[in-house]
């Protein structure tokens, strides 16, 4: 059912995204672009002692990518970078078909996207941006 995917939680996050904006002094950042659909996200992180202290994003995209980014930012703020990466891995695995994976909280709302493989990239875009950002060092 398409309503499982476009449920209130997703629509809400898409309409009122959390952590939208930019950081004054990010330690890490990255830009991701999906040329196939035009989704774009710029992610900024403030990492201190291995912990993601603050996070913000800007960009344009579909409801799925916007909601996915918003949800991600709320979930990883306060986590260590290792925890965040591990969560992203679990999410990517689950969304590409590994049903054995534990309940992932708000991320579960995005799991029905697996019926629409051409949209999976929309949901994983912010997680790719996260990996990119953690590999980067900004001034």
């Amino acid at each position: 059912m398409i309503e499982d995917l476009y449920q209130e939680l997703i629509i809400d996050h898409a309409r009122f995204p959390q952590n939208r904006g930019s950081l004054a002094a990010p330690s890490h950042s990255a830009h991701q672009y999906n040329p196939l659909c035009g989704d774009e996200v710029t992610l900024q992180l403030l990492v201190e002692n291995g912990v993601i202290q603050d996070i913000a994003f800007e960009g344009q995209g579909c409801a799925i990518s916007t909601a996915a980014t918003s949800i991600m930012t709320t979930l990883i703020k306060g986590k260590t970078t290792e925890e965040a990466k591990a969560l992203g891995q679990l999410f990517r695995d689950k969304i590409t078909g590994n049903a054995e994976i534990e309940d992932l909280g708000e991320l579960e709302a995005l799991v029905p996207i697996k019926e629409y493989p051409m949209r999976v990239k929309c949901a994983t875009l912010p997680w790719h941006a996260l990996l990119d950002a953690l590999r980067s060092e900004t001034t």
Binding site: M1, I2, L36, G38, I64
Partner: protein, 400 residues
């Protein structure tokens, strides 16, 4: 019934009736084309041209026949002017490379319309960079029509090539190419028309148009994938050097020197897509059996009804309002992104395309990133329109 001829239309999509509205991307194939393909591989398969035996003789005769049939269909003066390619994109690359690299120089101008598909844009941009020519935009109006006055003003003696799409795949505009060709010829420019979207809907007469080069895609005119054609005026093709080289396009080969075959072989190295070219004839036969004027009117009518009905939904508008338009509707919703709309339509069995439709410069012109596009074919009916409208309404309910 026409739809009975297209078995794929009977197969449910995500449990719903399929409303196939992605004809601008590729058309479905009539049973005759499918049968001809299987028949070729089952009973006629052989390499063409140089076989010493019966099977090859038969395959060669059928292969040559498609060329003649296509040449007649577009009213080329000779079948030698029809070069087989792997698709419309390759046809244009052939011209941009073989003609462009040898006829353009520093200071020359290539005019390219703002509504070109990347296939009739990027090759010209590449050759302009290589040769120091400049690529200049033919602007379009807010309605999505060529700005003919601006075009007239751009036509100076420095213009060597005009690249223009016959029917826009994004917004359906049917361009006045006959007039535009005549205007270009007045200043001595050649014209490359991208006919990818035209052949399934319009009767094209290359001699009447006076066009220099005309690119065709097989899979968009009810034929197989992997086949296309380039029509070119004989004197132009004769003067052009080969594009790709290899077997079958040569006269003699030695370490000292290679000489090339005559048209059309000169431009067709290697084993052609025989299993695609031969069934392509069945697609042309299928089109020959239709009243294309009626078909085009019916497709345009369905598109108009769709447009009218969805524009009544709050926050929906259609991009591209040209007076002369094919059955293509490019939809924007201010309450959702093209991709979300596309996915909800998909869940309702409605097959549409979302994105920039390989027309980024056009998207930019309208300050948008993507649209949700419905494009009609010969088998579409009012039922498809209704299904699409209902699906858009559902999306509106979901997004509130």
């Amino acid at each position: 019934m026409l739809t009975a001829n297209f078995p794929i239309l009977e197969i449910p999509s995500r449990g719903k009736r399929l409303a196939y509205l992605d004809n601008a991307a590729t058309t479905q194939k009539p049973q005759s084309v499918i049968d001809a393909t299987a028949h070729y591989y089952r009973e006629q398969n052989a390499n063409v041209h140089r076989g010493a035996y019966w099977l090859s003789q038969e395959a060669t005769a059928l292969f040559d026949q498609t060329r003649v049939q296509l040449a007649n269909w577009i009213n080329a003066e000779s079948s030698d002017e029809v070069i087989f390619t792997k698709g419309c994109t390759e046809s244009i690359n052939l011209v941009a490379h073989s003609w462009g690299m040898n006829n353009l120089s520093q200071g020359d101008v290539i005019l390219v319309s703002r509504m070109e598909h990347h296939a009739n844009f990027v090759p010209w941009q590449q050759v302009s960079i290589a040769k120091g020519a400049s690529i200049v935009e033919i602007p379009i109006t807010d309605l999505g029509e060529i700005d003919l006055e601006a075009y007239q003003n751009l036509l100076t003696g420095r213009v060597k090539m005009v690249a223009i799409v016959h029917v826009s795949n994004s917004i359906g505009t049917i361009n006045p190419i006959k007039k535009m060709i005549a205007m270009a010829h007045k200043v001595g420019a050649k014209v490359m028309v991208d006919g990818a979207q035209a052949l399934a809907h319009l009767k094209v007469d290359v001699q009447d148009l006076g066009v220099d080069f005309y690119a065709i895609s097989g899979h968009k005119m009810y034929g197989p994938t992997g086949v296309g054609a380039l029509y070119g005026k004989r004197e132009l093709l004769d003067a052009m050097p080969p594009y790709q080289t290899g077997g079958s396009m040569i006269r003699t080969v030695s370490f000292e020197e290679t000489t090339f075959a005559a048209l059309p072989d000169k431009f067709e190295p290697g084993t052609p897509n025989i299993g695609g070219i031969i069934p392509w004839a069945s697609a042309i036969t299928f089109l020959e059996g239709q009243n294309l004027l009626e078909v085009a009117a019916q497709e345009a009518n369905l598109a108009q009804v769709l447009e009218k009905q969805i524009e009544q939904i709050n926050g929906i508008r259609v991009v591209g309002k040209a007076a002369h338009r094919a059955g293509i509707v490019s939809i924007l919703a201010d309450w959702t992104h093209a991709h979300d709309l596309g996915t909800i339509l998909d869940s309702e069995g409605v097959a549409v395309r979302t994105g920039h439709h390989c027309c980024m410069p056009l998207m930019k012109r309208f300050n948008i990133v993507a649209t949700t596009r419905a494009s009609f074919g010969i088998y579409n009916t009012m039922e498809d329109v209704d299904q699409c409208v209902a699906a858009v309404q559902k999306a509106k309910r979901i997004f509130g």
